[in-house]
Amino acid sequence: MVAIMSVPNNAPPPVRFRDPQIEMAHGAGGKATRRLIEGLVAPVLGGPLLESLGDAALLEIGGAGIALTADSFVVRPLRFPGGSIGDLAVNGTVNDLAVGGSKPIALVLTLILEAGLSTEVLEVELRAVAAAAERAGVAIVGGDTKVVEHGKADGMYITTAGIGLADRRVRCAPSLVKPGDRILLSGPIGDHGITILLARGEIDLEADLCSDTRSVYPLVEAMIARVGDAVHWMRDPTRGGVASALNELAADARVGIVVAEDRIPVRDEVRGACELLGLEPMHIANEGQFLAVIAAEHADAALAAVRGVSGGEGAVIIGEVREQPTRTVLAASAYGSSRVVDMLVGDPLPRIC
């Protein structure tokens, strides 16, 4: 990311990605994904708008600010407690637009269907998409459908593009993040990833857990309405979890981040599953949460605003931005020590979103 920002716009950075083949890890949302994007995708596709590598791009078209995002969904199983691929497709796209600082307006949706997929399953997913779109207040305005041979698509893949209207009350960028800023997390982490893991049925674990998939737009909107441009940065921590999102911020903004270990909300079930399997909750994907960096003097008001919305009651301030150590995320314990929280390496849970 630093390399891209330091090169003039008319000289695309060199391709630095040297891995000979693509591995599952490149899709996990951690270090490998970032290397692929920064080292191959961004240099080749180029352009200043790719600089921010954020969730949504902001285009100025005839005086209007248009936010544009794309996303893809390859979850297995298709249905799980709390939702399905259809829900993820709509909510995931809406959330990208929301944390990109825009009001989500519309989606187009493409379906890649595996030959042999039951029509009933497809219909159920389409209804899920329609219902999620209505709940989120967005329109599905187009799409495409393709069918591939049996064995090529895990049943169904969905890709989306979403469009939103930039919210002029806020402007988010890593460059606006300053030491002293506070970090807000909207609710408990790890629900989605662990739900998917258990839903696969490959592990003999049982828990009463469901995916947290939902639109976070109402929470984000309430926060912006209250504190406006005191919000400096937002992200929805999907693959790679909170750890990867914060590490990307620390790297992009060249700051240090400290979170208080005991303030990060984790449900008992998620904690238990992570302990049993040796997983780190901060590396697990979420589909209904967001992180926001807010100027210190407005953090309490922002928190109150989010907590005032139904579904936002679990929001907490988990930490703050520091000058040092740069490009590092630390978790502080209650007894005065701290450890580094690194980006996800590898892929603990393939095909979770």
């Binding site: 003999d204 674990l205 049982e206 828990a207 009463d208 008992d268 079930e269 904690r271 238990g272 599953a273 302990e275 049993l276 040796g278």
Partner: protein
């Protein structure tokens, strides 16, 4: 692979003498209890789980004794501090 977690026995599996259902923070897992059958396990016993097997029964008495000793570490220091405070120059 030292990863081993304490869990509470919540159920024995009928028809499968080797297996029990153990709960860790509201997550349930079936584990093999062959290594502890000599101990005689009951519902609500706590066991240490490792790669799907119960390795050891957790001694509640020993755990409480340990917490007592740990709490005393601080008390000793306070007693020492008081003693030092009584010294006369």
């Amino acid at each position: 692979m030292c990863l081993a977690i304490p869990g509470r026995i919540v159920e024995f599996v009928p028809g499968e003498a080797h297996m029990a259902v153990v709960e860790v923070a509201k997550v349930r897992r079936r584990v093999n209890i062959d290594l502890l059958r000599e101990n005689g396990l009951s519902i609500d016993d706590w066991v240490l789980i490792h790669v799907g097997f119960a390795m050891s029964k957790i001694g509640v008495v020993e755990a409480e004794e340990q917490m007592r000793l740990l709490a005393m570490l601080g008390e000793d220091q306070q007693a020492m501090d008081e003693l030092i405070g009584y010294r006369f120059e």
